[in-house]
C-alpha cells in the first residue's frame, strides 16, 4: 500500500515539474517566485490522513489522478454573463480556467486611484506594489504548506487590488473564477491579493463557479492586508463542479483599528477544504470569519480556520453553520490562539450543524490555545436536525413539506448570510437554499 501511494505522489509531482518549464519567461520576478514555489513543493510532502490536521478527510481522490494545467488546454468558453453580479457591472475581473479574461472583465466603475489588474501583467511591468505585497501574507500565515507552495509554483494570472489611503470603494469588486467543461482532468491555481491601505474601505466577492460536472482541481490562494483603520468585507462563494476538488487558502493581516469581515459559502465541489487564517497585527482590531456550508450527496467539506490573536484588545467572531444531507461529510476545526500578553481578547466561536439524513457525518473540533489570562473566549458546537414540531407548525399553517423545510433551512442559514451587504449575493443564496431543499426532498422521496 505504502509503495503505491508513494508512486501516485511522484506522478503528481512529476506532472508539476513538467508544466513548470513552460510557464517561465516574461517576468523575472514571477519566474523567481515560481522557482521558489517548485523548490518548496519538492521539499514538503503532500498531506495524508496520518497528519492531525488532515485526519478527517481523504485526499485519495486528489492523488489518484493526474491533471493537466488548465491554461494548456484549448477549452471552449460558453456565455458566462448570467454569472455577473449586477452591482459589479463595471467592477469585475474574470478568470476562465485560471487565465485572465479581459473580454469578461470590466473595471470602469472602479475609481482610478485604485490599482486593480492581472498579476501577470503587473509583474511584467515590474510593479513595485505587487512585489511588495505578493506572498507576504500567505508565507507568514502558512508555513511549510505544500498547497500554497504549489499555488506559488504556478503563479501567473491573478488579482491584485490596492486601495489607497482614505478611499472608499463603493462598488463591490467581483472576482469571478469560472471553470469550464473538459474531457481531461485539469488543475487551476489562482491568486488574489487585496491590500486596503489606511482608512480605506473595500468589498470583494470571490466567486468560484463550475459550469459542468467535470473533475478538476481548484487551488485558490487569497491574501488580504487590512491596514490601519481600514474595513475589508470579503464574501466567498464556492460553487465548483460536483466532481471538483477545491483546496483554498486565505491569509489575512488585520492592523490597528481595522476590521476584516469574511463570509464563506460552500455549496459545490466533491471535496473542499477551506482554510482561512487571520492574523492580528496590532492592538484593537475586529474580525469575523463566518461560514455557511450546504452539502449533500457524497460531498465532503472541511473548514480549518485559525484566528491568531497576537495583541491586546481584539474582538473576533466565528459562526460556522453546516447543513448536511445524504452521505455528505462536514468537518470543522476552529483554532483560536491567544498569545501571551494578548489581553482583553473577546472571541466568539460557534459551529452549528443541521443534519438532515441518517447517513450524513459531522466532525467538529473547537481548539483553543490561550496563553493570556484576561480574555473571554466562548465556543460551542451543536449537531441537530429539523424538529418535527417545527415542520408541523408550518404545515399546520397550510405550507407543504417542501415549503416548510425550505423555510426552516433558510431560517437556520440566515444568520450567517444576513450581514452580506451585496443584495444580489443575498438573492443568490436564497436560490441556493431553495435548490438545496428541492434536491433534499427529491432524494428523500426516492430513498
Amino acid at each position: 500500500m505504502g509503495k503505491v501511494k508513494q508512486q501516485k505522489e511522484r506522478t503528481f509531482l512529476q506532472d508539476l515539474l513538467n508544466f513548470q518549464g513552460s510557464l517561465n519567461g516574461k517576468s523575472k520576478f514571477l519566474d523567481e517566485v515560481r522557482l521558489k514555489g517548485a523548490e518548496e513543493v519538492r521539499n514538503i510532502s503532500f498531506p495524508t490522513k496520518k497528519l492531525e490536521d488532515w485526519k478527517f478527510i481523504s485526499l485519495r481522490d486528489l492523488y489518484k489522478d493526474s491533471y493537466e494545467l488548465a491554461s494548456d488546454l484549448d477549452l471552449e468558453v460558453p456565455d458566462i454573463s448570467e454569472h455577473y453580479l449586477p452591482e459589479s457591472k463595471g467592477a469585475r475581473l474574470t478568470f476562465v480556467n485560471g487565465s485572465f479574461s479581459a473580454e469578461h472583465s470590466s473595471t470602469e466603475d472602479i475609481p482610478e486611484e485604485v490599482l486593480i489588474g492581472n498579476i501577470a501583467k503587473l509583474a511584467e511591468e515590474d510593479n513595485e506594489l505587487l512585489k511588495k505585497h505578493l506572498n507576504k501574507y500567505v508565507e507568514n500565515n502558512f508555513e511549510k504548506d505544500v498547497f500554497s507552495s504549489f499555488n506559488k509554483a504556478f503563479l501567473k494570472d491573478g488579482v491584485f487590488v490596492y486601495v489607497p489611503e482614505g478611499l472608499t470603494v463603493d462598488v463591490p469588486l467581483h472576482l469571478l473564477f469560472v471553470q469550464t467543461d473538459a474531457d481531461t482532468n485539469y488543475f487551476t491555481t489562482s491568486r488574489s491579493v487585496v491590500v486596503a491601505d489606511k482608512e480605506s474601505e473595500v468589498t470583494i466577492v470571490e466567486d468560484h463557479i463550475g459550469l459542468a460536472d467535470n473533475k478538476y482541481f481548484n487551488l485558490p490562494v487569497v491574501e488580504i492586508n487590512a491596514e490601519e483603520e481600514s474595513y475589508v468585507k470579503h464574501t466567498k462563494i464556492q460553487r465548483d463542479s460536483r466532481e471538483a476538488i477545491h483546496i483554498a487558502r486565505t491569509a489575512a493581516f488585520v492592523h490597528h483599528h481595522a476590521n476584516y469581515e469574511s463570509y464563506t459559502i460552500t455549496r459545490g465541489a466533491k471535496l473542499s477544504r477551506n482554510e482561512p487564517r487571520i492574523s492580528q497585527r496590532d492592538e484593537e482590531v475586529e474580525f469575523t470569519v463566518d461560514g455557511l456550508v450546504l452539502i449533500d450527496g457524497d460531498q465532503v467539506s472541511d473548514t480549518h480556520s485559525v484566528m491568531d490573536h497576537r495583541f491586546s484588545h481584539c474582538e473576533s467572531h466565528q459562526l460556522h453553520k453546516c447543513v448536511i444531507n445524504g452521505n455528505a461529510h462536514s468537518v470543522f476545526n476552529g483554532k483560536i490562539f491567544v498569545r501571551k500578553d494578548a489581553q482583553k481578547i473577546d472571541s466568539f466561536q460557534e459551529n452549528r450543524n443541521l443534519l438532515l439524513s441518517r447517513k450524513g457525518l459531522v466532525n467538529t473540533k473547537p481548539q483553543l490555545e490561550i496563553f493570556a489570562d484576561d480574555v473571554v473566549c466562548t465556543h460551542g458546537a451543536t449537531v441537530g436536525q429539523l424538529e418535527q414540531d417545527e415542520l408541523f407548525y408550518l404545515m399546520s399553517r397550510g405550507l407543504n413539506e417542501q415549503q416548510a423545510r425550505e423555510m426552516l433551512i433558510y431560517a437556520f442559514a440566515l444568520e450567517t448570510i444576513e450581514n452580506i451587504t451585496v443584495d444580489s449575493v443575498q438573492d443568490l443564496l436564497v436560490d441556493e437554499v431553495h435548490q438545496f431543499t428541492e434536491n433534499q426532498l427529491d432524494s428523500k422521496l426516492t430513498a
Binding site: 417545527e390 408541523f392 404545515m395 399546520s396 397550510g398 405550507l399 415549503q403 423555510m407 444576513e418
Partner: protein
C-alpha cells in the same frame, strides 16, 4: 362539522402507551367549546391529532370533518380544509417575516379552496385590518415569526394568524396560559370577534379564567384520555371551585 368517534391514540414511538382512550366529541358550526382537564389528560394531544401531527398514531376510531374522515390527510391538507391549531408553544422561525409566512399560507389555502389569491399589496391590507384585533403595531408584520417574541406576543401572534387565515375550525391549545390580564382580554376579544355562525372554536385550557371573557356553549372535562363529563359553562365554574378530584373518582367508576 367535526365528529370525533371513539378515538384511540398512542405516540408513534411507543405504541404500548395509549394517550387517548376512546374520545367522542361532536362540534357544530357556530359553537364555542372548551376542553378542560388536568395536566397529562390528553387535551393537547387531541388538538394536535386533529391538526395532523405525525408523532401520533390513531389506533382506533375516526375523525370526520364535514362527514369525511381526515385521518389520512397531512397537516397542510387539513389546513387547506380550514382546520387551524393555535400552538401552546409557537415555533420561532428567524429570518422569515410574519408577513411572508402568512401570505404564503393564505394563498396556498385560498388556492386549495378555490378562493382568490391576494397579491402582496392586497394581502398587506388584509393583514393590517387583522392587526387591530390583537392590538399589534404594523411592524409586527415585518418581524420574524415569533423570533424573540415574549410569551404574550407569541400567543397574540397565534390569534393574529388565525384572524388572517380565517379558519373554519380552530383549536386553541392553552392560548390563555402565561398571559397577564390585559393580554388575556386581548386574546379573548380576538376569539369573540372571530367566532361566527360559519365557524367553530375549541378552547383547550387548564383554567376557567378565560371563560370569564369567552362564553362557551359546551364545556368538556378530559381525564385520563377520555371525556369524563360534558356540560355548559356552569361545569367550568364547578371545576374552578372543586377541582378535578370528584370527576376522577367518577371516571374510575366508569
Amino acid at each position: 362539522m367535526l365528529e370525533i368517534k371513539d378515538l384511540h391514540v398512542c405516540v408513534e414511538e411507543d405504541p404500548s402507551e395509549e394517550i387517548l382512550k376512546g374520545v367522542n366529541l361532536t362540534i357544530n358550526k357556530g359553537e364555542i367549546h372548551a376542553i378542560m382537564g388536568p395536566n397529562g389528560s390528553g387535551k393537547s394531544t387531541l388538538s394536535k391529532v386533529v391538526a395532523g401531527h405525525e408523532a401520533y398514531e390513531v389506533t382506533q376510531g375516526d375523525i370526520l370533518y364535514n362527514g369525511e374522515s381526515i385521518l389520512e390527510l397531512e397537516a397542510d391538507e387539513r389546513a387547506h380544509l380550514g382546520i387551524f391549531l393555535a400552538f401552546q408553544y409557537p415555533v420561532e422561525v428567524p429570518g422569515v417575516t410574519n408577513k411572508n409566512l402568512l401570505r404564503q399560507a393564505y394563498n396556498t389555502i385560498a388556492e386549495e379552496q378555490g378562493r382568490e389569491e391576494l397579491d402582496p399589496l392586497q394581502f398587506e391590507d388584509h393583514a393590517r385590518e387583522q392587526l387591530e384585533l390583537v392590538d399589534m403595531k404594523e411592524e409586527f408584520l415585518e418581524r420574524s415569526v415569533n423570533a424573540g417574541f415574549s410569551g404574550g406576543e407569541k400567543k397574540r401572534n397565534e390569534i393574529f394568524q388565525m384572524a388572517v387565515l380565517q379558519p373554519k375550525l380552530a383549536f386553541l391549545d392553552e392560548t390563555d396560559s402565561g398571559l397577564d390580564i390585559d393580554a388575556l382580554k386581548i386574546v379573548a376579544n380576538g376569539i369573540n370577534e372571530l367566532s361566527g355562525e360559519d365557524n367553530a372554536t375549541v378552547l383547550v385550557t387548564h383554567y376557567q379564567r378565560i371563560l370569564d371573557y369567552v362564553q362557551p356553549d359546551h364545556v368538556h372535562v378530559m381525564i385520563d384520555g377520555k371525556i369524563a363529563k360534558s356540560g355548559d359553562k356552569d361545569l367550568a365554574i364547578k371545576l374552578e371551585e372543586e377541582g378535578y378530584d370528584w370527576l376522577s373518582k367518577d371516571a374510575s367508576v366508569l
